[in-house]
Structure formats: C-alpha cells, structure tokens
C-alpha cells in the first residue's frame, strides 16, 4: 500500500466512523478517539483530524500503553519499554473508537479493552484498524478495517507513517528473511 492508498484508507475509515456514529445517534461531543501505543497513536491523530471535519467538532484524543496489561510477561523475558497511558477525559458514557495499525492475534486489543475499562465504563467501544492481517487467537473483530491482507504467520506487516520518521507513508509486508 502506497502513500496515496493509505491516505484514502484513513479518510474512508473516518467517514465510516462518522456515518455509523450519526446512525447510532451519538452526539459529536460523546465521541473520543484512543490510539493504542505505539502503532495506533499517529493513526488515531489522523483519524481524529478527518473526523473533526465531518463531525464539525474535535473529539478528545487519548493513548493507551497496554504493556502493563499484557498476558505474556513471563514469556517475553526482558521487560518491554513502557510508555505513558494518557487519557485526560472521562471515559464513562463515551463512544470510544480504539485505533490500532495492525490487527493480528487480538491480544493487544484484549489488553487495551481491559485497560480502557479501568478508566471508566464507556457506552460503546468500536475498533478501527488500518490493516487486518488475520491470524486471530481470540474472538475479536474490527468494526472498521482499512485493508484486509492475507499473509503468512511468519511474515511481518509494518505500517510506516511520516510522523514515525518514515520517508513516506506505506504498508509493507516483510517476508521472513528478506
């Protein structure tokens, strides 16, 4: 996926979210965007910018670092770098759009949901991802998907964004050993 395609996918995601929010009867001020660190954070910012245009209101933005909610600490050994979780708005009663770059096993989303509900009781939570690469290990599905990819288990899907230091936006599938 090149820069243009990625741009379009983000825009489409935002439009779908706005549309579904309206259909659900949610007022613009009830919507909040939460990016899952680290891949979901910049994507969440972009989606929020697009949403702000269509909703004519800027939804609050937060980030979640799910490191302390992982279920694989003892298998990972060396502790992961833990970044800040930053949610400065009341979660209770909100329509929360969780944003991540790639949906794979579903474990990250499971941890993010656990963490999110520790901040309060949202009215509803939707999941938006840029790439769904399949391979789920938990019964979790995205509400909004930019693109679905069929890739082998050992392959790595990378979403590169300019905010993260990439020369240009791209989604790259790296085959093992290449």
């Amino acid at each position: 996926m090149n820069a243009q395609e990625l741009q379009r996918a983000v825009k489409r995601l935002a439009e779908e979210i706005a549309e579904r929010a309206r259909a659900a009867g949610a007022a613009p001020r009830d919507v909040a965007i939460v990016g899952i660190r680290r891949g979901g954070v910049h994507l969440a910012e972009r989606i929020r910018a697009e949403l702000a245009r269509s909703l004519r209101a800027e939804p609050p933005l937060g980030t979640l670092d799910i490191a302390l909610y992982r279920d694989d600490l003892s298998e990972r050994g060396a502790a992961p770098i833990i970044g800040p979780t930053d949610i400065r708005f009341p979660v209770a009663g909100k329509l929360i759009v969780l944003v991540d770059d790639v949906l794979y096993t579903g474990r990250t989303v499971r941890a993010a949901l656990d963490e999110l509900v520790d901040f309060g009781r949202p009215r509803r939570v939707w999941l938006a991802v840029l790439v769904d690469r399949g391979g789920r290990e938990l019964p979790i599905a995205a509400d909004f998907v930019g693109v679905r990819l069929q890739v082998a288990d050992e392959d790595v899907v990378e979403v590169r964004l300019t905010e993260g230091g990439a020369p240009e936006d791209a989604v790259v599938v790296k085959r093992r050993g290449t």
């Binding site: 909610y69 694989d72 600490l73 298998e75 050994g77 060396a78 502790a79 800040p84």
Partner: protein
C-alpha cells in the same frame, strides 16, 4: 532483570543506565497510581514475599502496595512471627520461604550483607529493603526519582546529606545513585557520625551545617536514632538539633529558595527537622512516599518479569 542484575541489593553495583532504567519505568508506574482504578494486571499470578527481620511499617507497606497495584500476591513474614527466635538460620528461613515459590523475596535485615547471603541460596529474585548500615537501594532510587521530578535532572546538582552518615544505609545508597547520575554530594554531621574513608565513595565531608547546605539544590535530612545518643556519638539531642538540625530560620537564611528538602522518614520532629520545615513549601517528604511506591513497582516489575532466556518476539 534490571540491566545485568537479577537482584536489587546494592546500588554500588548498578550502572548509571541501570539506575535510569528503573527511574524511567517508575514514571509510567506513577501514572498508574493517578488512575481511578489503581491496579494493573501485569504481575497477576506472581507472588512477592516481604521478609522483614526489622520492624518497618512504611517500607513494608510501600512494597506491599507496589505488589498489589501490579496484581501480584504479597505475603508478609515478619520477625515476630518468624522462626528466628527458634534458632533457625537466615539461610534456612529463606529456603523455607522459597519452597513456597515466590517470584521476588523482599528482605530487610539488621546485618549488612544479609540479602546477598539469601540471594546466594535461593533461586528467586531478591530485593533488599535495607540491610544494616549497608544499603537501602529502593530508598536511594526513590530519592533520585523525587529529585529528577523536582529538579529535572541530577546532572550538575548539589545534594547535601545531613545526619548520622555512619549508621545510614540510606546515605550510602543515595551517594552511589546520586553521584552516578552526575550530582555532587556533600555529607554533613558531627565527626563521630562520619564513617572512616567515606570520601572514597565520591562525596565531600563537612562538619558545619551551613557550609554543607548553602547553595545546595537539595538537602536530605537523616533521622537521628535515639539509641545513638550517648552511644557516645553525640552528647544529646539538644546540641545536635542546635548545630545540625534544620529549622525555619536556618532554612530561610542558608537555603536557596528552590532547594528541596527530603527525609527518608520517620521524622524526629524538633530534632533533625523542625515542624515548620518538615511541613513547609520546600519539603517533598510526602512526594517521596508516593514515589516510593512507583519506584518499588518498577523494581518488582523488572525483577518478576520472567526469564530472559525465553525472550523472543511475541505476537500481539
């Protein structure tokens, strides 16, 4: 693991990078403490045993809360309920506790070196919560955390540590950690409370309080233990407080306005610190308490975090 270390026993053995690893993680841990639900599941199923051979409500509670916020199970084993009085050796006690398969053993003991002795005989991670006059690493780390929070950095800062340096494990851990983070450390107290050769740790020694605290960015006031009086380290608390205690007048005249005041607690009000200073605007003593939990969470998280040999790229 904290850097190369399986245990947290002596900051003398820790590098600057290893100290910073704990302090950086403690920032995230402190954020957890601000949440409405102060609990994360990261150490669920892990257990922490607090093995205390010396009375200490605050350090034990701090470790206990840290364990519980991380969802670890915490068991307290104190000397009054232990087998020590029945003649069981430290190694036997530790091995017995280890049979309960804890992930971390937190130990406080009146003998310097006791945590190391335990670490040599058990398989789990060992955290010292203070051993004799040797070290109190979590206190040294939380003091540095508090100073980073208040001063931004320790690089180039001057910290004065005042009191009974010779019996203080806090002073030793502070000196090791603070000098590694780039601070200049001044030690101050009556000559009878300055241990032999302490300059070799990289600190300067001052007998006069004014010369030690003037121009300092932070002052750590140590607790004067009542059993030292007439030890005969000092003739009495009256003269001590007059010469080495910090009151509002001395603080106003000698301290920089932005200088912060730390104390490992519990305070002897009116001896080393007057109440106005302990509760005054420069005091960060209560911040130290909360930071203590955050730092201990970081230590427990890193040391209970499993086996690096099994490390691999996880899918998530």
């Amino acid at each position: 693991m904290i850097g190369r270390h399986k245990h947290c026993i002596a900051l003398a053995d820790y590098s600057r990078a290893e100290i910073l690893e704990v302090l950086d993680l403690a920032v995230s841990m402190k954020e957890v403490l601000q949440r409405p639900i102060k609990k994360v599941p990261s150490l669920r199923g892990k257990s922490v045993v607090n093995l205390f051979f010396e009375a200490s409500t605050r350090t034990r509670s701090s470790f206990e809360i840290a364990a519980k916020v991380l969802s670890a199970d915490a068991l307290n084993w104190t000397s009054s309920s232990s087998s020590v009085t029945k003649g069981e050796t430290l190694i036997d006690t530790a091995r017995n506790l280890e049979a309960m398969r804890p992930d971390v053993l937190v130990i406080r003991h009146s003998a310097g070196g006791a945590p190391q002795l335990v670490a040599e005989h058990v398989g789990c991670a060992v955290v010292s919560a203070g051993d004799g006059a040797h070290e109190h690493p979590s206190q040294g780390l939380l003091d540095c955390f508090t100073l980073r929070e208040k001063l931004g950095t320790l690089e180039g800062k001057t910290v004065a540590i005042v009191g009974d340096i010779s019996h203080s494990r806090v002073a030793r851990s502070d000196i090791h950690a603070m000098t590694k983070l780039g601070a200049r450390v001044r030690l101050c107290g009556p000559p009878t409370m300055i241990p032999a050769g302490v300059e070799a740790l990289g600190a300067t020694v001052h007998y006069g309080l004014r010369e030690a605290i003037e121009g300092a960015d932070a002052v750590v006031m140590l607790r004067i233990q009542h059993e030292r009086i007439g030890d005969p380290l000092i003739p009495g608390t009256r003269e001590y407080s007059k010469l080495w205690g910090l009151n509002a007048k001395k603080a106003a005249e000698w301290l920089r306005p932005e200088c912060v005041i730390l104390h490992p607690g519990p305070i002897n009000r009116g001896v080393e610190l007057s109440p106005e200073v302990a509760d005054g605007p420069q005091s960060v003593i209560l911040d130290q308490v909360q930071n203590g939990v955050a730092v201990r969470m970081a230590i427990l998280y890193l040391l209970a975090g499993g086996n690096p040999a099994e490390s691999g790229e996880a899918k998530a």
